[in-house]
Subunit: 465 residues, 2 copies
């Protein structure tokens, strides 16, 4: 669609030649200090008083969706597995903790060989979530689980915000491919995560090269206005682009006068020109005029791509315009009005001094939590999701719990005793998440796709055993 | 204030023992693929047609501030210098570009030894900006300048969004220290950049350890609810924290019942307890009650810290409450409603085929640009800023331009012919930006500090020579 010879085949859109393996060389970075200081000071105190070894279950959930949203899309779990692999402290990091007096020498020793040896289960990537869905549960000692809090939340909160926006956008685009072009409007690393999350939420590719490389995503691109301005004429610029990138490229037509640019484009490239892009003005009306002009010039197969601060509402309003694909930037990477999710990481069960696990909860006003570890199922009627069921109880109670017929189990194991499931990491996991998301969205009542503000599309029922 | 013995001295708040030098070991990462694909395909075409060597001036500016904002705060320039130092392509990156067919073999050769050898000037970090302020100007060959577009914008757009929010918040806090606790609500690397930008915009410290380490920022922290829940009783938890972290620590009081917790806290720590934190409920009213209770218990010097989805409006409404410091999270790292700036990177001047520099501009509807390189000054009346003056012209015209008496030159040299100014990078630059920001804010008309929506606090006058 965009980028011509410089893109992968659309059908295999998500497969790239350099899908990320277990190691990504210079792009792997230690994550252990991507953490709030209090995780380390709490560890320090808990090691001193002996509670750091208590077994704990932490739960990631959100109390509410962004105002008016019907569902959220969970994303980032695969990146959490990557991040935990890199969660170790180098000499330099240990020296920092020591020099600043953040933890005691005993804790420094404990941290020297730290690796997370606990277990993680949670919602699939691309799965829908609702208020109180137990999106992730992390089980291990207090010491190892508390160190992960900030990092786990950073990843899930941002990635899920982008995936949730992407889902609404790709749904509003109604089958037309949406491409991520938002990297320039968010932090440079957030951009890479956003590309990945966008694909989880239904996008087909990204302009971001590092994301394309690390995650094996389809890379796309057209040209910028500077390329036209650089040349002595628009004709020179178009001729150069076609010469270097081939006929299948997409020419940018709104630097000076669109009608003239489209005429020049077809004169230069002929009727087999791959595509044109419009980046300003009334996109629906311009697309209509450009389509008629292209058709009149015989360029009936030349595609039209539009860009310019698109969001799900703009995409919905363009559905009758003759547009072939969308490039989405700012509103994608900023979550379309909801740049973060309100996910929190709360202790729900911990070992007592007698070795018995105890459900725990805080009682803070408006921020009380539901004690106990959780199961999660979704029930269906006529093949459509009807209710989210969250079951809370002890490990014994939960293992004896029999879900009703037809309830789908929403939890998968990401990590068992420190061993991550490689199938839930890397490129293949993203492709699987993209597919799972499409399937799960199709199973939600159609109201989910409404852009009107309203309640979550299905209720969450919490059963405390 | 927060974190007791585990923090640096407040006066030297911004100085840390491990301020980032020119190399940050495993945290330095190559940035050359943090780029949209079209930068590389345009380079490819321009190398082929000979225009890649044309001298160019690109300008970063925004057409508008976020709705109702009175000013923006520029941040991230020091990080751009870091990022350019790491802008090189490893074998693996080159193989990716080659395998995907993104650029030709000739371009791969050109990229092998790539380093940016151009010049960059722009607004100081911490400086206020307005619509059309030439925040950064990048000069060099088209090839080298176009490759930086995405990365430069990612950094400036996000960092400035956070610094702008931080500025409004620290202004609304009216002298009470604001601390960044937002890492968990944004991408894990964005969190690090946000901590830095928050300090540029007036914050005093951060919970984020990696930011504290890389940039030599003051690290702060209290404790989480899980620490109380982990223990058999709140009393056990408080005793453990005081034992490990010292009397000067801050105890979290809202896990169960605040009044009881405050009582327990003073019983455990005595009247010299450093601080208590309240994280839920009606913060003003709770702070008032807790202050009275602490005073009655003799803990008159114990500080009160509040947190819980604070933004500038909440901070303004808390000004009469007996609060000593604020922890700000979500709304800081998401730019308090404006998670990105609308900065763009546009070609404003380029060499023609005859070697003469030509001002250029695009004419896209609503997105037209002002041609030519720029100077920028701010004029004052009674010591208060009155107008932003942007002067556009050729290099000769600009070098002959004489600003009026009292106009402050807003541009500094960040990089000259590929050599960055080390004084504008790293910890010291952040401390300088923090101070410059405070001074520049004090020189804006007081309307700048209004939280009411309105126009930019001073107009921008554009003079085309």
């Amino acid at each position: 669609m965009m980028g011509g010879t410089h893109q992968d085949d659309a059908v295999q859109g998500l497969t790239g030649q350099s899908a990320r393996g277990r190691s990504n060389g210079s792009y792997a970075y230690p994550t252990a200090l991507m953490t709030d200081m209090y995780e380390y000071t709490m560890l320090d105190a808990a090691l001193k008083d002996g509670t750091a070894q208590r077994r704990c279950v932490f739960e990631v959930f959100t109390r509410h969706l962004p105002t008016g949203r019907r569902y959220g899309v969970a994303a980032g779990q695969g990146r959490i597995l990557d991040a935990i692999e890199s969660f170790h402290l180098g000499d330099d990091d240990l020296r920092f903790l020591s020099d600043r007096g953040i933890v005691s020498p005993e804790t420094i020793s404990w941290l020297e060989d730290f690796h997370f040896s606990g277990s993680i289960k949670g919602y699939r990537e691309g799965e829908m979530f609702f208020p109180n869905s137990p999106i992730l549960q992390v089980e291990g000692t207090f010491g190892e689980c508390t160190l992960l809090e900030t990092l786990v939340l950073s990843i899930l909160n941002y990635d899920s915000a982008v995936a949730s926006a992407a889902s609404r956008m790709s749904s509003a685009a109604n089958g037309r491919p949406c491409m991520d072009m938002g990297g320039r409007r968010t932090n440079e690393w957030a951009a890479v995560a956003a590309s990945r999350a966008a694909v989880v939420g239904g996008f087909q590719g990204t302009a971001n090269l590092l994301a394309a490389k690390l995650y094996g995503l389809k890379a796309i691109g057209t040209a910028a206005h500077c390329f036209t301005l650089l040349h002595d004429s628009e004709r020179d610029a178009f001729a150069s682009q076609v010469d270097a990138l081939g006929l299948d490229t997409t020419l940018l037509t709104d630097t000076y006068d669109i009608e003239q640019a489209v005429k020049t484009a077809v004169e230069v490239a002929g009727p087999d020109l791959g595509g044109v892009r419009i980046d300003s003005g009334d996109l629906a009306s311009l697309a209509q005029r450009v389509r008629m002009q292209l058709d009149a010039l015989g360029a009936t197969k030349t595609k039209i791509t539009v860009t310019n601060d698109l969001d799900e509402y703009a995409l919905a309003s363009l559905q009758n315009a003759p547009v072939d694909s969308y490039g989405v930037g700012t509103m994608l990477v900023t979550g379309s009005g909801a740049p973060t999710c309100a996910m929190v990481y709360k202790l729900s069960e911990r070992e007592g001094s007698d070795g018995v696990m105890v459900p725990v909860a805080k009682k803070s006003p408006d921020k009380a939590t539901v004690p106990g570890r959780k199961l999660a199922f979704r029930s269906y009627e006529y093949g459509l999701a009807e209710c989210e069921h969250v079951i809370s109880g002890s490990e014994e109670q939960l293992s004896a719990f029999a879900p009703q017929e037809g309830w789908k189990d929403l939890l998968v194991d990401y990590m068992v005793n420190g061993e991550g499931d490689a199938a839930l990491q890397g490129h293949d996991a993203i492709a699987a998440a993209h597919e799972h998301h499409a399937k799960a969205l199709a199973e939600l009542p159609i109201t989910a796709q409404s852009l009107m503000r309203g309640d979550p599309v299905i209720p969450t029922d919490i059963l405390v055993l």
